[in-house]
């Protein structure tokens, strides 16, 4: 597992690069637009700062690349990263296939799941209600979690938990750095 400090470093660099890409466009941006830009660049930078093995990072980058406004920002982040170290970045690029595959699998798996669930209920009518309730609860929560984690719809349970782990770590690093930067800026501006 990579060290969190290196993760943060990379995130910060990339974020700054991305932000610079925005500013180079020299557009007057409102508060919300700026906020969106900041957030997007932060997310992409965070995704790019990972090792590139996780689904959520790929999903994030792909989604960002689809938006024409942010496309070049993403490109700049990725290219700058690639310029720095050639090793892990190329893995990020061939990423467009997973989402479509996931969608198909999801539809198919839903039908299968429904049938399986009916069979399950018929067969296990003797099963206590408590376990059934517990299973439904878990099911609902996994659905919610899938909505939270980017690209979570395509994942199965064990994969989802792994992705959540990684996503949580990255999110936490992102939050910490942003907090720090925000504090710095605030203090500096207040002086």
């Amino acid at each position: 597992m990579r060290s969190p400090s290196s993760l943060k470093k990379e995130f910060l660099t990339k974020w700054v690069v991305g932000l610079r890409a925005w500013s180079s466009s020299s557009k007057e941006m409102g508060l919300l637009e700026r906020k969106k830009a900041i957030k997007l660049s932060a997310d992409v930078a965070m995704a790019a700062a990972t090792n590139g093995t996780t689904i959520w990072s790929h999903t994030l980058i792909n989604n960002a690349s689809k938006d024409p406004n942010s496309k070049h920002m993403v490109q700049s982040i990725l290219t700058s990263a690639r310029a720095r170290d050639q090793s892990n970045e190329p893995s990020k690029f061939p990423l467009l296939s997973p989402p479509t595959r996931c969608a198909r699998n999801r539809v198919r798996s839903k039908k299968v799941l429904r049938k399986a669930r009916i069979n399950y209920i018929q067969r296990c009518s003797r099963r206590s209600a408590a376990s059934l309730i517990a299973k439904t609860l878990v099911k609902k929560r996994t659905q919610v979690l899938k909505g939270l984690v980017p690209g979570g719809e395509c994942m199965d349970e064990s994969c989802l938990i792994k992705e959540t782990l990684d996503y949580m770590i990255s999110l936490r690093a992102q939050v910490l750095i942003m907090q720090h930067i925000a504090k710095v800026m605030e203090l500096f501006n207040s002086k």
């Binding site: 400090s5 470093k9 700054v16 508060l31 099963r127 939270l148 959540t164 949580m168 504090k183």
Partner: protein
């Protein structure tokens, strides 16, 4: 004693009258009694027979009254429902010492009248012995009668050591009945044996055959010392067939008592031998279900689920009568279902709810599922460490809830912070240098900052042209100086870091500064601050140990 003599006299006196008076009635009684005798394999039956015979005579002339007569009463009057009364009768009768003398006394008087339809009975009476050789025709209809109950009573008090007697006993039957093929109990292989059992049962054999064969089956399995897998299926089949026989003949209680008694004794030995029935039992459960025994399902439904092994036989008994192995029966029905559903799981894990049958394919599925669950639980443990405040939480749903809350809160924080940054910075022109400057500024405000350099920094940085990477180079010396200063600050803050890393403390900005330094300096391969970097990264790593996986 007095009573017995008196009764004897009475009966002797009245017997002739009875015979003459009720000759018309007798044949039916005789028929019944002949059936009884044919059924019986006990010594007591011939003794009892004259009793019933005489009672038939006694009943007509307002017979009475002595305690013996009263005890005889039920059998005559209610010979169509012999179950309970006969049993009682037998027990009562067996307890007394009369019968032998009585029986001996009776035949002489009765012989004149009885002879035509009573060869068997007379021979029984003469010998006072058990008469196994009865023509098959009398066996065609077997109402439940005292013989079974009596045998059941015997068997219920049977100890395990008496199985040999039982087997010999049954063996006599076996030899007697030509249709019960298969040689002796011990010799025939179980499969053939049970094939015979099933054949005999399916042929509509009387209950007695069924029971004895079943008893022999059980005895054979026990004494033959077969492994659990063999025992399981064979016993299951036997029990299946027995239950079918039960349904056919309707003598449920007798059989229940019988096999209950047997099963009870079998259990302890079997429990030792077969802890893990494995797929054989799963197969058995399938067979049992396929035979369409609603009986077992009825039993299993209303049952508790104790721990493991049990005689499957008891499951049928369960619904018929209350038996000792109630829990055993439950175990039986629960266990095979469980085993069949998950062959690889240890029994104690799975016995609770699974009753559905699964085929072979599902066994591999269940294995894969188990592996999957293990993976998931392992990862949940990691998540437990990550998510703050989740160390005490157990259970998937609650953990997932916490995880969802945490991820949502982090995402909201990112949104908020980006909004804040957008508000603070109107131009969106973040630069490393500015950030560095601001960091250092913050660091200077830290607890052990060296304010000596503070004057230089704000002056130095505005001079630099922003966002020009090459322009950073002149700033390097300044940065280098500041990094040395930072080093001192950092070392002073190392203790803070090592104490814990959950919330961002004011000391952290110093560490961040060094990170920012590292960010810049790595890009420009400045070697001087590398030592500080190492220290920082080392300290950070120690603090971040929890985050790392």
């Amino acid at each position: 004693m007095d009573m017995s003599d008196k009764d004897k006299l009475e009966l002797d006196n009245k017997s002739e009258d009875c015979m003459n008076y009720h000759s018309s009635h007798l044949p039916s009684d005789w028929q019944y009694d002949s059936n009884n005798i044919a059924n019986s394999s006990t010594r007591l039956i011939p003794n009892e027979h004259p009793m019933t015979v005489c009672r038939g005579g006694l009943s007509a002339p307002s017979c009475s009254s002595g305690s013996m007569a009263n005890s005889f009463g039920p059998t005559v009057w209610q010979h169509s429902q012999p179950l309970g009364f006969n049993g009682i009768d037998v027990n009562n009768y067996a307890s007394t010492s009369n019968p032998l003398g009585f029986s001996r006394g009776v035949p002489g008087s009765l012989r004149n009248v009885v002879e035509p339809g009573w060869e068997a009975a007379s021979s029984v009476l003469k010998g006072g012995l058990f008469l196994p050789n009865v023509p098959g025709h009398s066996l065609s209809q077997f109402p439940a009668d005292f013989s079974f109950i009596e045998r059941a009573a015997r068997f219920s008090s049977f100890s395990a050591g008496n199985f040999g007697d039982m087997l010999n006993y049954c063996g006599d039957h076996h030899s007697v009945r030509p249709h019960l093929r298969g040689g002796t109990v011990m010799q025939c292989p179980q499969e053939a044996f049970h094939g015979n059992v099933m054949k005999s049962v399916l042929d509509g054999q009387p209950q007695k055959d069924e029971i004895t064969v079943a008893g022999m089956a059980m005895g054979a399995t026990l004494l033959g010392g077969h492994g659990p897998t063999e025992w399981g299926p064979s016993k299951n089949e036997g029990s299946v067939e027995r239950s079918q026989g039960v349904k056919m003949c309707g003598n449920e209680s007798d059989e229940a008592e019988f096999s209950g008694g047997v099963g009870d004794q079998e259990e302890p030995s079997l429990m030792d031998t077969c802890r893990e029935p494995s797929s054989a039992k799963g197969v058995c459960s399938k067979k049992r279900k396929k035979s369409g025994q609603g009986v077992e399902s009825e039993q299993a439904n209303g049952v508790q689920w104790p721990s493991d092994e049990a005689a499957k036989a008891n499951s049928e008994i369960q619904h018929t009568g209350d038996q000792n192995p109630t829990s055993v029966a439950n175990k039986t029905t629960g266990k095979p279902g469980n085993q069949s559903s998950k062959a690889s799981d240890p029994p104690k894990e799975e016995y609770i709810h699974v009753r559905a049958r699964r085929g072979q394919a599902t066994n591999s599925h269940s294995l894969a599922e188990r592996v999957r669950r293990e993976k998931i639980s392992e990862r949940m443990k990691f998540l437990q460490d990550l998510v703050p405040g989740c160390s005490k939480v157990t259970g998937k749903a609650v953990m997932l809830d916490e995880i969802i809350n945490y991820v949502q809160s982090l995402q909201r924080q990112v949104e908020f912070l980006s909004m804040k940054l957008a508000a603070v910075n109107p131009r969106l022109d973040f630069s490393i240098e500015e950030l560095l400057a601001k960091d250092m500024f913050l660091a200077r405000n830290g607890p052990s900052s060296t304010l000596g350099f503070s004057a230089h920094m704000p002056i130095a940085y505005p001079l630099l042209p922003p966002s020009q990477p090459p322009a950073i180079q002149p700033a390097l010396p300044a940065i280098g100086i500041s990094s040395d200063a930072m080093e001192r600050n950092v070392t002073s803050h190392l203790t803070h870091l090592s104490s814990g890393y959950k919330e961002p403390t004011p000391q952290l900005p110093n560490v961040w500064e060094d990170e920012l330094h590292n960010v810049v300096q790595m890009g420009f391969s400045a070697s001087a601050p590398l030592s500080s970097q190492d220290i920082n990264s080392g300290s950070l790593q120690s603090g971040h140990m929890k985050v790392e996986l």
